[in-house]
Subunit: 382 residues, 2 copies
């Protein structure tokens, strides 16, 4: 399952708190130069590792990724940049690679400086720990995630392995927080860049938990180039791995009790369809109704109506798990509230919205909004 | 306190449910032609009374407003229009006015037809009840509101009296759900229209509870023309009345435990400042942090960063109730987390965000997001 050339390590560096015992620092290492590409948050407030990573991926090659959870190293100014560089330089020195070959990633609390001396003290342990424990690595990048997120596909003779973390501050552009995709296929950096950009449009950029775009979103892909394989096959595997990671993030959305697919068809174009789907996916009233299994379809159509896309009210149709709720903009004849209430008990909900005769379509993925979301996000961190 | 020429009535018409005992139908009557102006929801899914009202206010005059709570008469097709017209016609006939002189307003559940025969049976009682009980009228328009919302100002010798309801599906453009403002001043319809449009920009269009724009938002203003008064004085009273109603809606936001003022200064222009203020005001992560008094200012700056306005991260400053949290885009020297936690215990929070040297400014008003918001909005209506 591990693409050729890669090894992993995960340690506790006391980042979440000096006495925190969980894994919070990880390393991915490639034993030769790897083709490298990345996608980064569209938030204008970019964390230090994002600013550094955006610069590094321009070379199209790297050797490793050092990642920490528990601290985002965002809004930390020049000191934040210096701290991230100190960590990557120490790791680079121990591995005997150039410091521009080490990409930093961070996730966690904004505005606090990294505990850089504790991290530097641990770089020896981190590098010595390199091996095949991908489970431990996947746990080292978790924050409020309730399960680690990895996905794997065989692409002919090549392998594609992905990691991601959730589970809040998740919104499109780009909605991943952190993700890493590794392959041993031969791929030029430019093609790798094209592949990940085309893969995220209907995956990471189609999910939303809370509409909040993070300061740290980063997806990095590395290709070690050991295996010659058809690029279409590799691209398909990339898409499936990234799709699976995106859906894991939704399933693990903070406090989520349901996974919700919102499919919009019949729009003028795909961009309009996405706009409408995201308007519904981010509506608090829709999300709380789904949590409570409230058959209040008016909230769905209201969210369609306040999107910025021009619509024809009398052409709208809505189905929930295949049950026709709205037809021609009004309640479908024979609609039964109790029946919809029963359908909404399902843990997997699909809302299909048709807008008219156009060809534009988009599928968005989201969750309901529960008491637990409020609990997770209102707790004063200690 | 009642502007000359107006009378009021409120009854139970069994709209919320056949056995519901509360007031759910109200009437405002003017004993002569009143100058009339209105502002309506920007949601493209417009309720039947909105479609009718938009048409009627074009004449610039009317005689009364008939309003119901418990049923929005939205997404009800042609039948919804016919039902609203049947009610206004019956009221008009009993009052001896033209049916185009009666403006309908509705608020409540979307997608259910009005119980029109129960309402028609009650029009006699409604018209006979006309009198001075403004308290009863203000209660008849309530849905999830926990208190009735009226505001009054004396404008020299003229009076300005306003009513509004809250308390969910509140977002700018136009964020009122329903509001009525009455005056006995002499005001031409065109001036009345100008006054209400200029009054809503920093009031109803500056508040957001949940970012959901309703299908029924309507503000109607009537001027009976009994009192000649300086128009600047009247306009000032209108602004104060509308401002007070808007703040009541925020204070009564569903599940709100805090009133939050988000003031943005230093933007390139006012529109940019509004965009940033609304991005912060609608952030679930900001709103849940405020509920939990979590001193996590990173969520505020992240929401500034993902707004569509171009910003300079290193120029951002943030103060919370006057306490400097962020300076030059990073944590202010000497910032103390426990102190901010203590400040956030206040029920009135002001967040001041400076973006740079520009003159653009905007103040938005919102609430925190509590367990109770989820409770109110996830409960399956019965």
């Amino acid at each position: 399952m591990i693409p050729q050339g890669f090894s992993f390590s995960a340690i506790n560096a006391g980042i979440k708190a000096p006495d925190h015992k969980g894994l919070d620092m990880g390393l991915v290492y490639c034993n030769r130069d790897a083709s490298t590409a990345g996608v980064f948050t569209s938030n204008q407030i970019k964390a230090a590792p994002v600013l550094i990573g955006m610069d590094l991926v321009r070379t199209g090659k790297s050797r490793c990724i050092v990642v920490n959870s528990g601290n985002a190293n965002a809004c930390t100014g020049i000191i934040g940049i210096e701290n991230a560089r100190a960590v990557t330089a120490a790791v680079a020195q121990r591995l005997g690679v150039g410091s521009s070959d080490v990409i930093p990633m961070s996730t966690g609390v904004i505005g606090i400086q990294l505990p850089v001396s504790r991290m530097l003290d641990k770089t020896g342990e981190l590098v010595e720990g390199l091996g095949s424990d991908i489970e431990a690595f996947s746990r080292a990048i978790m924050t409020t995630d309730t399960f680690p997120k990895t996905a794997f596909r065989q692409a002919g003779s090549a392998k594609v392995l992905g990691f991601a973390k959730g589970a809040g501050m998740i919104a499109p552009d780009m909605a991943t927080t952190l993700a890493i995709v590794l392959t041993d296929a031969v791929i030029e950096p430019q093609l790798l860049d094209n592949i990940i950009k085309s893969c995220i449009s209907d995956t990471f950029n189609a999910i939303t938990i809370d509409g909040d775009t993070s300061t740290n979103d980063t997806l990095i892909a590395l290709a070690s180039g050991y295996v010659q394989e058809e690029s279409a096959l590799v691209e398909k595997a990339f898409h499936e791995v990234i799709q699976e990671l995106a859906m894991m993030i939704v399933r693990d959305g903070e406090g989520a009790t349901k996974v919700v697919e919102i499919s919009v068809t019949g729009a003028e174009n795909d961009a309009d369809a996405k706009e409408v789907a995201m308007s519904v996916a981010n509506s608090l009233l829709v999300k709380t109704a789904l949590f409570g299994c409230d058959p209040n379809w008016g909230r769905i159509i209201a969210a369609v109506g306040y999107s910025s896309v021009q619509i024809e009210p009398q052409e709208i149709g809505i189905q929930v798990n295949g049950y026709a709720v709205v037809k021609d903009g009004i309640e479908n004849a024979g609609f039964d509230e109790d029946k919809l209430h029963e359908i909404l008990q399902n843990k997997e909900i699909s809302i299909d919205i048709t807008l008219g005769p156009g060809d534009g379509r988009f599928k968005a993925f989201t969750t309901d909004l529960s008491y637990q979301y409020v609990e997770i996000n209102s707790a004063y961190r200690t």
